[in-house]
């Protein structure tokens, strides 16, 4: 098995933003959301998506590096997508952001207890152990995980997978959903709440 070597990639954390998207769990829905970013030439730093308590819906957390004005425009465009129920900018909002790492590190006999101790300091735990080394699971905010990777790097070659950030807003956000409409008859709802978003944004 080939071991990855080299410096772990560091995100420019101060520049990154988090967008949280609640969307229908349908084929192509993911591409519609990410397409709005790629069409404008923006790269996605990380993306996670999984089902919510409603199996027809998924929650997506996207980490991007897009300037404020364009981000506001992209989020408006995301909210326009038929499959998107709500897209929100968590960059400035009160939110908790976490990420998980699965890391394989070479652990010769003389370093094994040191590695375990180090992992405990970061609240990480060993999930697999072999004669070659450990697989360690660590969860935390992305900056903390960067530090953990630096420390583990000092024990030699390692390979890891980051999950990408997931984020949850600390504020309850009211979800406005379109009620059913009869076929061949267009009905629209009141504008009052939509305007609040426009005024604040």
């Amino acid at each position: 098995m080939k071991w990855f070597s080299g410096q772990p990639y560091r995100w420019p954390n101060n520049m990154l933003q988090v967008i949280s998207v609640l969307l229908e769990n349908k084929p192509g829905a993911l591409m519609r959301v990410t397409g709005l970013l790629s069409a404008r030439g923006y790269n996605i730093e990380s993306l996670t998506v999984a089902r919510t308590i409603d199996p027809d819906l998924s929650r997506m957390s996207i980490v991007v590096d897009v300037d404020d004005r364009l981000r506001a425009q992209v989020i408006k465009q995301m909210n326009k997508l038929v499959n998107v129920l709500q897209a929100t900018d968590l960059t400035e909002a009160p939110a908790v952001c976490r990420e998980m790492i699965l890391l394989r590190v070479r652990a010769p006999m003389d370093k094994r207890s040191a590695i375990i101790k180090e992992a405990e300091i970061f609240g990480a735990r060993v999930v697999d152990s072999s004669l070659d080394g450990f697989v360690i699971e660590a969860t935390g905010d992305p900056e903390k995980l960067d530090e953990f990777l630096d420390v583990m790097q000092s024990y030699g070659n390692m390979e890891y997978t980051r999950s990408g950030s997931i984020a949850v807003s600390l504020e309850a956000r009211k979800l406005r959903l379109q009620p059913p409409v009869p076929v061949a008859g267009v009905q629209a709802e009141s504008a009052e709440e939509e305007m609040d978003g426009v005024l604040n944004g």
Binding site: G35, L85, A188, E189, A191, E194
Partner: protein
């Protein structure tokens, strides 16, 4: 339909089911081109009452559907087969997306079990058209077909209209299912905000009465929402000057005293000066397009902005609005007019002195530099051609154009007394649009005189549709403004690239008499200014189609012109020195 009424389970295949859904949506006519995977659909169509118009290229099916939709406000429908048929629709879809035109495009797809196998005529239509449509669908099962079709029509026509594509695999067309009419659509993530925030509208009304130099800037959204009467009421109540964008022409009748024509790159002097000088910009169903605003920082620099649009993503996209109002133009204007009327007794006289001075200024600008109506005794000037068409139209004919110089002269000089007469590819600027769009419009409005005014470049992109004209004996009058060049590109090369004319000379234009004759209808060429009026009249008198080739002065430029990146009040009003070749 009869056995649907008694509620009996109705077994039919997907193709028949699709036709039932189209009929239920009120589709009377659609445009398409058959192919391998749509065979089951065309078989079902064989004995169905819906009219299918056989075009000669799928792109033109979409343009024709667009012309139909633009002329009526109804959803235009087009149909193509898988693979090349579907990819040929792309230009038409993007055109409708840019101009917010309601289109439902049906494409065939290879059978579900073959999808992803690089089967014959397979293309990832769902993926390719994702960014070309408002929404798109791949139907995986006949059970979901009716729901999807009605959703497609609802999405295409509601909110900000746009194209919706439904990709249907061949085995879904063939599968048997019980058709149960769908009564309800539930798209919980699709929100349409139509009413407009009452508090914001009240603030807007106050701001309008306070303004001394108001300017109304109306666009395609006014026409999409059918807000023409409300716009007129607003214009007259406030007595404000109004500009209509390229997409909004006809939204206010061209002979209305408050109408000061089109703004922007080739807009009128008065419109551009007015926008620059106003203290309040009332923007209705517009998106502050770069061809209108010129350099954004210098656009309406002294104005506060009221921006009404149904699409929240358009409000404050390019220009920060002081009063953003998300809503349908018609509903918002109804409320606004009512509030303006309530406030009128107290507010009307506040700004009247300032407003009189404003009108005086606007009239001066109008008189100072009206549109160029160049006329010559030696050659037909393009402006002369448009003026003659305007005379024949009397503000009532449908005029579809391509893109370029002829489009701008037509927009400047042909008057439209109603909306839905002026049909052009505004946002995308697709050449080859004019003729197929005119075909769609003529099917939609058989009662109307329809001109397809095209350049000699764009015409040659749509020549295949001459066969469609001939086959259906449509009385569309094609007027080719033939200057022998890709005129607009030539104009830019002349003005900004030292007159190095690179690949813009279009030689070998066909003999139109023979060309039209080959399709079995009449065509002619006119070169002398004195013969122009008679030639146009003869074309209009012809009961069937007519192809009129008008040779115009080759090097005429469109003015006024705002150079790219310029402010709209920095117009070039005409050539300083005639440019010799």
């Amino acid at each position: 339909m009869s056995n649907l009424m008694n509620g009996a389970p109705n077994l039919m295949n997907g193709a028949k089911m699709l036709l039932e859904c189209l009929a239920r949506e009120g589709v009377d006519c659609f445009f398409g081109y058959p192919g391998g995977v749509t065979l089951p659909f065309y078989d079902a169509l064989y004995d169905h009452a819906i009219k299918h118009v056989l075009v000669r290229h799928e792109e033109n099916a979409c343009f024709a559907a667009s012309g139909y939709a633009r002329a009526t406000g109804k959803v235009g429908v087009c149909c193509a087969t898988s693979g090349p048929g579907a990819t040929n629709l792309v230009t038409g879809l993007v055109d409708s997306l840019m101009d917010s035109i309601p289109i439902v495009a049906i494409t065939g797809q290879v059978s579900t079990k073959l999808i992803g196998s690089d089967a014959f005529q397979e293309a990832d239509t769902f993926g390719i058209t994702r960014s070309c449509t408002k929404h798109n669908y791949l139907v995986k099962n006949i059970a979901e077909l009716p729901q999807i079709i009605h959703e497609a029509f609802y999405l295409a026509s509601s909110g900000r209209p746009g194209p919706v594509l439904v990709d249907i695999p061949k085995d879904v067309f063939q599968a048997q299912g019980h058709y149960e009419p769908v009564d309800q659509i539930h798209l919980r993530g699709y929100r349409v905000t139509a009413d407009g925030h009452t508090g914001q509208i009240r603030r807007a009304a106050q701001m309008i009465w306070e303004a001394e130099r108001p300017m109304i800037y109306a666009g395609g959204g006014v026409i999409a929402s059918g807000a023409e009467p409300e716009l007129r009421e607003l214009v007259e109540r406030v007595d404000a000057p109004a500009v209509c964008t390229l997409m909004g022409l006809g939204g206010l009748p061209a002979d209305h005293p408050n109408f000061i024509s089109m703004p922007g790159m080739h807009g009128s002097y008065a419109a551009n000066m007015g926008l620059t000088g106003c203290d309040l910009l009332i923007a209705l169903g517009v998106r502050f397009d770069d061809r209108v605003t010129g350099r954004l920082a210098a656009f309406a620099p002294n104005a506060r902005v009221i921006h009404v649009d149904i699409d929240p993503a358009e409000v404050s996209k390019n220009r920060q609005a002081d009063i953003p109002i998300v809503g349908d133009a018609k509903r918002v204007l109804q409320k606004l007019n009512k509030l303006l009327a309530e406030l009128e007794p107290t507010a009307r006289n506040q700004s009247s002195a300032g407003k009189r001075a404003w009108w005086k200024q606007i009239r001066e600008w109008k008189d100072e530099h009206p549109y160029d109506r160049a006329h010559s005794d030696d050659e037909i000037k393009p402006q002369h051609l448009m003026t003659e068409i305007d005379r024949l139209s009397g503000g009532e004919a449908i005029v579809a154009t391509d893109v370029g110089q002829h489009q701008m002269w037509a927009a400047q000089l042909i008057r439209f007394h109603h909306s839905r007469l002026w049909i052009n590819s505004g946002g995308l600027g697709a050449m080859g649009f004019g003729l197929p769009a005119a075909i769609g419009a003529q099917f939609a409005r058989p009662d109307k005189l329809v001109f397809a005014i095209v350049g000699d470049g764009g015409f040659q992109m749509s020549i295949p549709e001459l066969a469609t004209l001939a086959a259906y004996q449509l009385p569309v009058k094609i007027v080719v403004m033939n200057n022998g060049y890709l005129g607009m590109v030539r104009q830019w090369q002349e003005l900004f690239y030292n007159n190095r004319l690179s690949q813009v000379k279009l030689d070998c234009f066909p003999d139109v008499e023979k060309l039209a004759g080959a399709y079995g209808f009449r065509g002619s060429t006119v070169e002398r200014p004195g013969e122009l009026a008679g030639a146009l009249e003869a074309a209009v008198r012809e009961p069937g189609p007519y192809l009129l080739n008008v040779k115009v002065s080759p090097l005429e430029n469109v003015y006024p012109m705002v150079p790219a990146g310029g402010a709209i009040n920095e117009m070039v009003l005409g050539a300083a020195v005639p440019v010799a070749q």
